[in-house]
Symmetry: C2
DNA sequence: GGTTATTTATACTATACAGTGTAATTTAAC
DNA sequence: GTTAAATTACACTGTATAGTATAAATAACC
């Protein structure tokens, strides 16, 4: 954001401090979770005074929500995959899966994924937002239907096939990586190949 | 446990209160998580005085660990599946999956699963215990090898096949149920059939 | 019914922490 | 360099809560 003149008053650019706060807060929150993170600790790690945090965010919860919002926004910027007649199904499925893995390949994003997963699990209110996690299914279902029209796939229910694919990706890769702190990603290539092969064994033509 | 005589002193049976405490604590912990649960609240919900809790458990954390221990013990009592030449693969795979679903079919167990998943995610120390969650794979790998010898299955790597199966079950059913508070279990039958079909499409003979 | 382990009520300590008030200081825009 | 917004240091309030102390009440076992 650029500095603006409002009401004849100078406004300085505060985005740098804001960013420092967000980064520090991410470090602290992902280390130990929301409840056991103190604003004093966040201030210390951010290299910013506690008062400044409260100048930017009215409360600990709003700070957390800002982090969540940024994270979800970042995730939604992942490019949607369109069905392509030119690329093989394998290649396209791999791209779908890799978009899913984007969230857990980087340590910081993985930490946030862990944090949010943990919070969403125990918090009904937040949990509703998680439903949007299943929105990618919609795009994938369209992809499946396109592949079917293109006589490359065969299935009764696209919803069921979508669940199977994402279930494999999440169950074999995503959650596994969250629990092992990325350790399990060593085998990700093998597993992803196997997931795709399995999916195509079932639905391929 | 039966009352015992130790050091010539009478000991009364305290297991009833202990049980009340554990049940109350489970209610409170699963409602809001470890950190935001207070011992006063647990005492109130348990119908027991706070001092009594501390007579049974030296700290909040030890109370929590007692709950965890009970839960994991209960889970380990699930009967292991042996390969059978008489039952169809479908039937046997279904049993494996249903053993996995045992943990999330009941609301209380599901609440505990959510709680522990949430805690394990954010707590490295606890996380190690989670590895034992992958121990079931060992029995399943043996099962896979038996099925292979019996010329019913074909695969390169039993480890990979096992990951695929459990990945599907966990990704499609377990985690889904945790996030939707069991709502997603409505479709569990369809999904389980599809999982088994998919698995056998890939590895069946 | 007496003995005694267990439980309870109540009050308490100590600490951690979210959030605020304020005056001094720094910093960027002009 | 002046000005005002932004930041800082620091002291502070209020509240929540883990864990303790203790004396009285309860209940099980003989």
């Amino acid at each position: 954001m650029m500095p603006e003149i409002v009401n004849n008053r100078k406004k300085r650019d505060t985005s740098r401090k804001r960013q420092m706060i967000l980064e520090g807060a991410i470090k602290v929150f992902t280390e130990k979770g929301f409840d056991t993170s103190s604003m004093d600790k966040i201030a210390e790690v951010s290299g910013v005074s506690k008062r400044t945090i409260y100048n930017h965010f009215p409360s600990k919860e709003s700070l957390f929500q800002a982090i969540v919002a940024d994270f979800l926004k970042q995730r939604d910027e992942i490019k949607p995959i369109q069905y392509s007649k030119d690329l093989s199904l394998q290649e396209q499925l791999r791209e779908f899966a890799q978009a899913e893995l984007y969230l857990i390949n980087d340590p910081v994003r993985r930490g946030l994924s862990k944090l949010l997963t943990s919070v969403f699990l125990m918090n009904i209110d937040f949990g509703k937002d998680t439903r949007s996690q299943f929105e990618p299914h919609r795009a994938f279902i369209q992809w499946l239907n396109s592949a079917k029209e293109d006589k490359k796939l065969s299935f009764q229910s696209p919803e069921l096939a979508a669940r199977i694919f994402y279930g494999m990706v999440e169950g074999c890769l995503t959650y596994s990586a969250l629990f092992t702190d990325g350790e399990s990603l060593k085998y990700a290539d093998n597993l992803l190949n196997e997931i795709i092969s399995t999916f195509l064994s079932r639905y391929g033509l």
